[in-house]
Amino acid sequence: MHVKNEGPIAGLKRNLRGYAMGIEWGRELPRIVAIASLLTIVVVFGCLNSRFATLSNFITILRQACILTVLALGLTPLLIQGEFDLSIGALAGFIGVLACGFQASGYPLFLAIGIPILVAGCIGLLNGIVVVAFRVPAFVATLGMMFALQGGELLYSGGSLITKINPLYRFLGQGWVGPIPTPIFPMIGLALIVLVLMQYMKLGHYCYAIGASRRSAMYSGIRVGAFRILFFMFTAVFAAFGGILLTSRLGAAKVWAGELLLLPTYAAVFLGGAVAREGKLTALGSVVGAFFIALIKNGITMVGLGWYWESIILGSLLIVLLALSSTRGSK
């Protein structure tokens, strides 16, 4: 807007003031705090270790972020619906070990990956049935599943490391396509699928409806029960993808590697929600959140803090994010 006879500085001041007045500070504050904190953390890490802010480190972060992104994308629709799944980490671990074991036993790659994914679907179905048909609270039901899967993981691997890795399998997690790490491609593919699903398709739309008001959805003819079960399966299958990428990247079926991803995944989804415009959980937010969580994880290692600091920092971050999201009145 051009006001006559106004000097450039005065004009700038006026526009900034107008912008500042236009922001609903009460509502936007949590988001601003979240973004500001993220930037601060990044800057601090960069200062503490000069190798943090390099391109090669950035690419390493990207590679690590892929697994987390896949898990976060799978979890997001379920959280939007108001459900909960604690078993995703253990599921990723279990499926990863299973796939690793299959390909080490000489199964062709598509079977070594395909069968564990089907298994994951069944596990998700089981979770869904227990929660929806038997009305067990999701928190409890998936907690139980988590323990069962941890046991299953140990049982299958016998506690030992499976290190015989098919080069094609290894390529998934450790390879390069030109300058780009391989896992980026499945990650982008899955991200696009979930983004389109949540934003433009009925299924995603119904997730938000069910999350906002299960009763209204039911009265409107939406088959809420079937939906909830379907998305438990969805989360499980994505956790499986993540687990496969994980063991592929590690080059071994390490027990407990998957479980450690539970906390960062939730942190990623809620971080995405905290920086999103309305505090809503979204697929895009989860992608961004996963990237930043991977960045923080990387930074923690780079500045010399032990891996146990990761739990403390991410756990605290998660608590802050949850508190922020509840003050905004969104799920």
Binding site: M201, K202, Y208, Y219, S220, G221
Partner: protein, 262 residues
């Protein structure tokens, strides 16, 4: 108003265990007619409505829709038969905008994707056809007033093209001006040829829009009168049962010792 009733309920009874919620009730509804269904609490109005909505199955009796006998299995079946119901607690999603709410559960899709623009246009058409004004379509329903939300709920039901509309206390929580709007909407439905059953505790509302009033008391029909042949007082008398009673009626009332002209 057409000759043949769009809805006939004959000899409808409903028991819940030992409780007789409805006893041998006959009910008729014509297209383009508004029938006020009144009665005190526990009279059976809600039960009758829920039978039509497919939530309950009658213990006895038949239901005919446009001459054909039907057994309404569940709410979705009811909708397919052309019965729309507006519950007292609405079925809106607060965080969605108006078109999304109108189309909830019945979205238009093109190649699997939500056809948002078309739904917006059709929503505008529905609202205009009902002369509902000043509703910015992009606004979230959460920010609307009680009367506006009720108007959206009614638009949502009307969009499914029902032959019969069941309205359960649609004005219960509304201010006077908003009530007027909703009643006007019901009249517009009537003009479109929809048969409306209005359950309401508010005599002024019932008298403002109904062509007929059906009174239930303790599960039985005690009155079925054209609106211009009665006064509010007459109807209230029927509801509470303060009129002169036959010995038969007195005998019946003895089985409910704690209820006498309440």
């Amino acid at each position: 108003m057409s000759k043949q009733p769009v809805l006939i309920m004959r000899g409808i009874s409903k028991r819940f265990g030992g409780v007789r919620a409805l006893q041998d009730v006959d009910f008729e509804l014509h297209a383009g007619e508004v029938v006020g269904l009144v009665g005190d609490n526990g009279a059976g109005k809600s039960t009758l409505l829920k039978i039509l909505a497919g939530v309950y199955q009658p213990t006895e009796g038949e239901v005919f829709i446009e001459g054909e006998q039907v057994g309404i299995q569940n709410p979705k079946h009811a909708r397919r038969l052309g019965i729309g119901i507006v519950y007292q607690e609405l079925s809106l999603v607060d965080s969605f905008d108006i078109p999304s709410n109108i189309f909830l559960g019945r979205e238009i899709t093109r190649w699997g994707m939500l056809a948002r623009r078309r739904m917006r246009e059709e929503a505008r058409v529905v609202l205009d056809s009902l002369s509902i004004e000043s509703m910015p379509l992009r606004k979230r329903v959460h920010d609307l007033s009680g009367g506006q939300r009720q108007a959206i709920e009614l638009s949502k039901v009307v969009h499914t093209n029902p032959r019969i509309l069941l309205a359960d206390e649609p004005t219960a929580a509304l201010a006077v001006k908003e009530t007027r709007r909703i009643l006007d909407l019901l009249i517009r439905f009537k003009e479109r040829g929809i048969g409306v059953v209005l359950v309401s505790h508010s005599m002024p509302d019932v008298f403002a829009v109904s062509d007929r009033v059906v009174v239930l008391r303790r599960g039985k029909k005690v009155g079925d009168v054209a609106i211009d042949t009665v006064t509010v007082d007459d109807v209230v008398k029927l509801i509470v049962g303060a009129e002169e009673r036959s010995s038969e009626q007195v005998k019946q009332s003895i089985t409910y010792p704690n209820r006498e002209g309440s």
